[in-house]
């Protein structure tokens, strides 16, 4: 009877250990960091958009910065520092967006300069015509 009780206790103990281990393993699995895929994708898209808009020509430094952040984000993913990777990816995205915005400013300014020049030329032309009359 006594023997039986000891055995029962041992069995119960091993059951608890198993449950505990399983729980721990599951918990470890659940907290295993996932790469910030969404942030990384958004950063890549933003960089691609900026490149499409000729940001390399109009806002090269900003585009360079975005690329650097994205690179670092990928390195952080490899090092499994996922929250750092997420931040770096978001920085890459915002840098690419700034590159895009500055590219647009440069383009808009170029168009305005051209318009101003042609308006001035037209004015001068009219002035000449006016003088001739």
């Amino acid at each position: 009877m006594k023997k039986h009780t000891i055995r029962q206790a041992a069995e119960r103990c091993s059951f608890f250990i198993t449950v505990l281990l399983t729980t721990l393993t599951l918990a470890a699995c659940a907290s295993a960091p996932l790469p910030p895929t969404e942030s990384l994708n958004m950063a890549s898209d933003a960089i691609a958009n900026a490149e499409q808009a000729q940001a390399r020509r109009y806002a090269g430094a900003e585009l360079e910065e975005a690329n650097r952040y994205l690179e670092n984000a990928n390195k952080a993913v490899e090092a499994e520092k996922m929250s750092e990777a997420d931040r770096l990816a978001k920085q890459a995205r915002v840098a690419a967006e700034l590159a895009m915005a500055r590219t647009e400013v440069a383009k808009a300014a170029a168009i305005n300069r051209e318009m101003g020049r042609s308006a001035k030329a037209l004015d001068e032309e009219l002035q000449r015509q006016g003088d001739q009359q």
């Binding site: 700034l98 647009e104 318009m115 015509q129």
Partner: protein, 288 residues
């Protein structure tokens, strides 16, 4: 006394623990009132943009997003979260810059509308000027046309006046001026001395219209032989031609013929008819 006796049992150990806890809490409090370093710079940039009316107009949404990012960057963080603070400041700074850039772009676009309006205005002014010029040209053309018409009307009037003065007759051959036989002595081809008003008018007329050719024709009555009359008529026409040449009319414009009594204008039966037939006609041809 009662209160004191209530406090008394508190041990030194407990007081120490309370002190440590409260100082820890105070420290936490102190930490929570400070924004991370660098957030003031971003706030300053944002405020500058917010105070710019152009930016307020053209980057409203972006400024609001930047404001949210700056507020987050200003959130106090623990001393162990420098990386997070830097990250938030970076994000806020870039969002402020994005707001600035977008505002600038939209401002430029708004200016573009103005520029093209200016250009349109300049073009319109040019067209108006051209149209005015064209109108003025047309007007002056019209008035010069009117002038020309008036001029030619006046000329025609003058000419008519002269023709009337000459007592010439307009025929399909031209103006026919009849010089009566009073110019000549009977049987003579020489012009009578002195001036003849009709001849003077003829000279003036020919000088005024130098592009007209003239034909001088001599005619007689039927008294005498045909040959005599033809010669006489021719000689009388020649006399008139000489007179005109002497008065400065170009000889090339004047041709002469003698018809004798071939072309009477009246009956040779009466003295009056014969007198009418003795004549020199000057035909001033119509302008070609």
């Amino acid at each position: 006394m009662k209160i004191l006796s209530f406090l008394k049992p508190v041990s030194h150990k407990k007081i120490t623990i309370a002190l440590v806890l409260s100082s820890a809490l105070l420290a936490a409090c102190a930490m929570s009132t400070t924004s991370p370093d660098g957030s003031e710079d971003v706030r300053g940039k944002l405020v500058a943009l917010q105070q710019n009316p152009d930016m307020r107009t053209h980057a409203r949404v972006e400024l609001r997003d930047a404001e949210a990012a700056v507020l987050l960057a200003e959130q106090p963080l623990g001393s162990g979260e420098v990386a997070l603070a830097d990250y938030r400041i970076y994000m806020a700074d870039r969002m402020v810059e994005i707001a600035r850039a977008k505002g600038q772009t939209r401002l430029l676009e708004a200016e573009r509308v103005q520029l093209s309006e200016q250009r349109d205005a300049a073009r319109l002014a040019a067209r108006t000027r051209e149209a005015n010029q064209a109108r003025a040209d047309a007007k002056s053309a019209r008035s010069s046309q009117q002038n020309a018409a008036a001029l030619s009307a006046r000329e025609a009037e003058e000419m008519q006046q002269q023709i009337d003065d000459l007592e010439a007759k307009a025929t399909e051959r031209g103006l026919v001026l009849t010089l009566g036989d009073v110019l000549f002595a009977t049987g003579s081809a020489e012009l009578q001395g002195g001036t003849n008003q009709n001849l003077e008018k003829l000279v003036n007329f020919l000088k005024q219209y130098p592009d007209r050719q003239s034909l001088i024709e001599g005619h007689t009555d039927n008294v005498g032989s045909a040959i005599f009359n033809e010669t006489l008529s021719r000689q009388r026409a020649e006399s008139v031609r000489r007179f005109l040449i002497n008065r400065g009319v170009d000889s090339g414009r004047l041709s002469v013929s003698g018809y004798g009594f071939e072309r009477p204008v009246a009956s040779n039966d009466s003295a009056m008819g014969r007198q009418q037939n003795r004549r020199v006609e000057v035909i001033i041809e119509n302008r070609q």
